[in-house]
Amino acid sequence: MGSYIVRRLWQGILVVLAVTTIVFVVTRLVGNPVDIMLPLSATTEQRAAFAHQIGLDRPILEQFGTFVWDAIHLDFGDSLWQRRAAMEVVLERLPNTLLLLVSGIGTAIVLSLPLGTIAALRPGGIVDRLIVGLGLLGLSLPQFWVGLMLIITFSVVFGLLPTSGIGTPAHIILPSIAMALPSLARLSMLVRSAMLDELNKQYIQTARAKGMPLHRIVTVHGFRNILAGFLTMSGWEVIYALAGFSVVVETVFAWPGLGQTALQAIQRSDLFLLQAIVFCVAILIVLINLALDIIYKLVDPRIDLN
């Protein structure tokens, strides 16, 4: 187990290194930070001064070395838009995103288990068809549109909930629903098909034949056997959301999290802030992946990690 964790950690470091390299290549070689970040009206002297300040006049390898060194120290320079350290802005906005993730993806994870199971109990029945239909909707509706439709329905027409922003508990309801919907659809379809497979196995029929009540079959045998796969997929849902899909929901609801900040950084050509966000999200994803692998092993001892 220990050597396995070390190996996964090593892979995680590779991923973070890959992200750092991609960010460096994209921002320094594909584009020119001076052109991107300074306004068109900047004079030649201003451009030269800025290039010198961020080290653009040095050899490219030295630049990369400094870039990696600074990244290790979580120093991404100052956000031009906010006029303070980019990392400070990231750490300020990160909790909001995590809050949205927990309430949105958390809801999806909690609801998908019963929904998928109920559907699997009577495949082809009316409840099953209803849940599968809802799953199709969840997979097919664009998240940003669902968000806007929720605002129109609950805020504009009925006036029940606030349209956007953060503050009271009521503010988090609509963004969470928009966030949860696609994950809920994917996860309940997964639970449904895994449960169907499991319930068709012979040992389940034996259990039924000897008179074990259905709810015990489902909870004792069914859940336990689909748990590993379900946890992995749930982890992937968190990663998907973190890796970018919160951008859309946060923009629709003006939720001041990392996603919205990333978009604002792009609109204000604030490259350093964007770099900091990408780097931090990459580290978070690596950590979640690592945690998932460990949980996976704990839940399902049959898995041989080596």
């Binding site: 892979q11 590779l14 991923v15 890959a18 992200v19 991609i22 960010v23 994209v26 921002t27 594909v30 584009g31 991107i36 009577r122 082809g124 029945g125 009316i126 199709l136 909707l137 997979l139 097919s140 509706l141 664009p142 998240q143 940003f144 549109w145 806007l148 439709m149 605002i151 129109i152 504009v156 349209t163 973190l242 890796a243 970018g244 899909f245 951008v247 859309v248 923009t251 629709v252 990333a262 978009l263 950084a265 792009i266 609109q267 050509s269 490259l271 964007l274 770099q275 966000i277 990408v278 999200v281 990459a282 994803i285 690596v286 992946n289």
Partner: protein, 321 residues
């Protein structure tokens, strides 16, 4: 003599298409999906002739006109107009082009590249395989959408940027699928036999391996098509995709966002189009998956026969067993 042989061979493709269409027709949801897709394709291809107005034509005298069934609405603008007096229906019809163009290009480019990489990795094995798969693993673990945003912000938004970036971000799924199939098929005797009698690697790959890939690749490509449509819509909604004066469904939703309180139809109809398109393609993909899988086909055939028999015997239809 040669005519006698040629004639049935020439007629056969049509007969097969006919049978296929008949089979789709028997599945209600697949038939619905296919008809919606045909309508949308027609609109996209013939947009200038189908659309009642120019999508960019402004009419400041007729701003924010609601759809025709509401009061103040008129049949001149069936789905109403936006904040510049542009006809929503015409914009939706033209907007379908961006979605389909981007999705088709990305699926084609990413699918081809991914398939080649998967074939290469699976067929060569060894070091080639481990290098390619390591790249795939790392790329899967990257925060894809954030990197896409970063690249777009540096290169500048536009349809071409979007196609390139989404292709780079989506080839891995194909590579993984193709590799896993190649690995399992390579073990089979007929491949071994082909190699034994001295077939060149190219021939083994193209005439023996590739046919095994068609049905799973087709299903994956259709599903990926819906993912790309949703990605294009999201990017355009964020202002990083299609740029005005071009139109796209996602862009129209973004434009209407500021008028949520006074004109719900601005965001509702373009979004509805995205949803209906994706639902239709998903329904068709489901049918393709079942149809190309022999086991599922058998099950469906058995269900069909059982249903017919029940009907013929005029027995009351039993429960859902």
């Amino acid at each position: 003599m040669s005519l006698d042989i040629a004639a049935p061979a020439a007629r056969r493709p049509f007969a097969r298409t006919g049978r296929l269409l008949l089979e789709i027709w028997h599945d209600r949801s697949a038939a619905f999906g296919l008809s919606v897709i045909v309508v949308i394709l027609f609109c996209a291809v013939f947009a200038p002739w189908v659309a009642p107005y120019d999508p960019g034509a402004q009419d400041l005298g007729a701003r924010l006109v609601p759809p025709f069934w509401l009061e103040r609405g008129s049949l001149a603008h069936i789905l109403g107009t936006d904040h510049l007096g542009r006809d929503i229906l015409s914009r939706i019809i033209h907007g379908s082009r961006a979605s389909l163009l981007v999705a088709a290009s990305v699926v084609l480019i990413a699918g081809t590249f991914g398939t080649i990489m998967g074939l290469w990795a699976g067929f060569r094995g060894g070091r080639t395989d481990s290098v390619i798969m390591r790249i795939v693993d790392i790329q899967v673990a990257l925060p894809a959408l954030l990197l896409i945003l970063l690249v777009i912000s540096v290169v500048g938004p536009g349809i071409a940027t979007m196609i390139v970036v989404l292709s780079i971000a989506n080839w891995m799924v194909y590579a993984r699928l193709v590799r896993s199939i190649v690995l399992s098929v390579r073990q089979l005797e007929y491949i071994e036999a082909a190699e034994m009698i001295g077939c060149r690697p190219g021939r083994v790959v193209f005439s023996h391996l590739l046919p095994n890939l068609i049905s799973p690749l087709l299903t994956l490509a259709i599903l990926e098509f819906t993912n790309i449509i949703l990605a294009e819509a999201a990017l355009s909604f964020l202002g990083l995709g299609v740029q005005p004066p071009a139109t796209s469904w996602g862009l129209d939703v973004a434009n209407g966002k500021d008028y949520l309180f006074v004109a719900w139809w601005l965001v509702t109809f373009p979004g509805l189009c995205i949803s209906i398109t994706v639902i239709a393609i998903n329904l068709l993909a489901n049918w393709v998956r079942v149809t190309t899988d022999p086991q599922e086909r058998e099950k469906r055939y058995a269900r069909h026969r059982a249903g017919r028999r029940r009907q013929a015997a005029r027995q009351p239809v039993g429960g859902q067993q």
